[in-house]
Subunit: 192 residues, 2 copies
DNA sequence: TCGTTCATACAGACTGGTTGGTATGTAGCG
DNA sequence: CGCTACATACCAACCAGTCTGTATGAACGA
């Protein structure tokens, strides 16, 4: 589904790759749509597990956690190269306007990521009062949108370096929110 | 295709909506894929026409042109609301990894937008030397990725306000590149 | 220990509707 | 006459989903 999209992926193909038959498929899944939802959920859980090593790190400040999150995302881009694709973004793009169930599921998975990041941003605001205020949710949605867009464009251009470069700029944007000027600029030296 | 994706949109459906028959369809298009490519090209041309009113404005500086471009994009988000979708992003997402022709076409359309924006950024750098240097192409790709991602996420959340808010933050990011601090902050007062 | 029961996990054949694409014909027009 | 723009009829392949059957194994009573 990540390679071909939802509609172009047939149940027969899935069964062949799984080494099972259609009878078995429809024993486990009520419909093809149900599998799509399950695939999204499984992918999201997998991803959240990876992200969690960043934001669940003990004895680490919220700003550092955000940087570690960007590290994880950069690693993903490096490891998966031209095949870096998000199941949630993929199925949402294809089905959001024609399938309300999938749309809501995608929205939910997105909210989970954004909720965690917004929490870190709010905590970071408390510890490092920024010069100009900002809305944690708005910034988190912005970061998520850029992340999704980067994977989409990076896939189309077959250029994972661009995704990493975009993440570098996200880092700069984030730092800019907390370090308006002059402050400890090299606190998080050239990562990613 | 923007509502359902490429694969889920049948030639019969297209013919019905166009008020024509299949015989006629395959007289004008060699295949369904050819229509997809044509749809992408038509959409890109339409979009570039809208963007052009920003970057082809006479007697206007490059930075102002960039801001007008963001104005155009905000207007698009406002006007199209929950249906704001890019044909290029849509078909690229679905087909980039399984259809090389569509992938290259999508890449080409993306490059056209990015090329124009990178040109403006380079010109702006000449006129308003930024405190820290940046790569025009990298920033342009970042902006485009965020634009694509915002449309994707905004569609999934059914929340066009988020797209507009993201564009606001893109504006701030852009300004931050040229106005490190203290300078004429309200040169482009609360637009978007 | 053994037979019975029953639910689960799977296989495989089948179907009715659909799909992209083709073959053929024709109306209109310069 | 010949070319373009369309229509009609048709097809073979395919698709999601169904139906029916079977192997396995746990639970249980005697």
């Amino acid at each position: 589904m990540m390679r071909q999209g939802f509609a172009a992926t047939t149940v027969d193909q899935i069964c062949a790759e799984a080494g099972l038959t259609k009878g078995s498929f429809f024993h486990h899944f009520e419909s093809k749509e149900a599998l799509g939802l399950a695939a999204m959920a499984a992918f999201a859980e997998l991803g959240m597990g990876l992200y969690a090593v960043a934001w669940d790190a003990p004895d680490v400040g919220p700003l550092e956690k955000l940087h570690r999150l960007l590290d994880v995302m950069s690693d993903l881009a490096r490891q998966h190269g031209e095949l870096l694709t998000c199941m949630v973004g993929m199925l949402s793009q294809e089905l959001a306007l024609s399938n309300a169930t999938v749309r809501q599921a995608g929205e939910g998975h997105m909210e989970a990521w954004v909720g965690a990041v917004a929490g870190l941003l709010t905590e970071a605001k408390r510890l490092h009062p920024p010069r100009v205020g900002f809305d944690s949710d708005a910034v988190a949605w912005m970061l998520y949108s850029t992340w999704q867009g980067s994977m989409l464009v990076g896939k189309t251009r077959q250029r994972p370096e661009m995704v990493i470069e975009n993440l570098r700029q996200m880092r700069a944007y984030l730092d800019g929110l907390f370090e308006p000027l002059g402050k400890s600029k090299s606190k998080h030296p050239k990562r990613a």
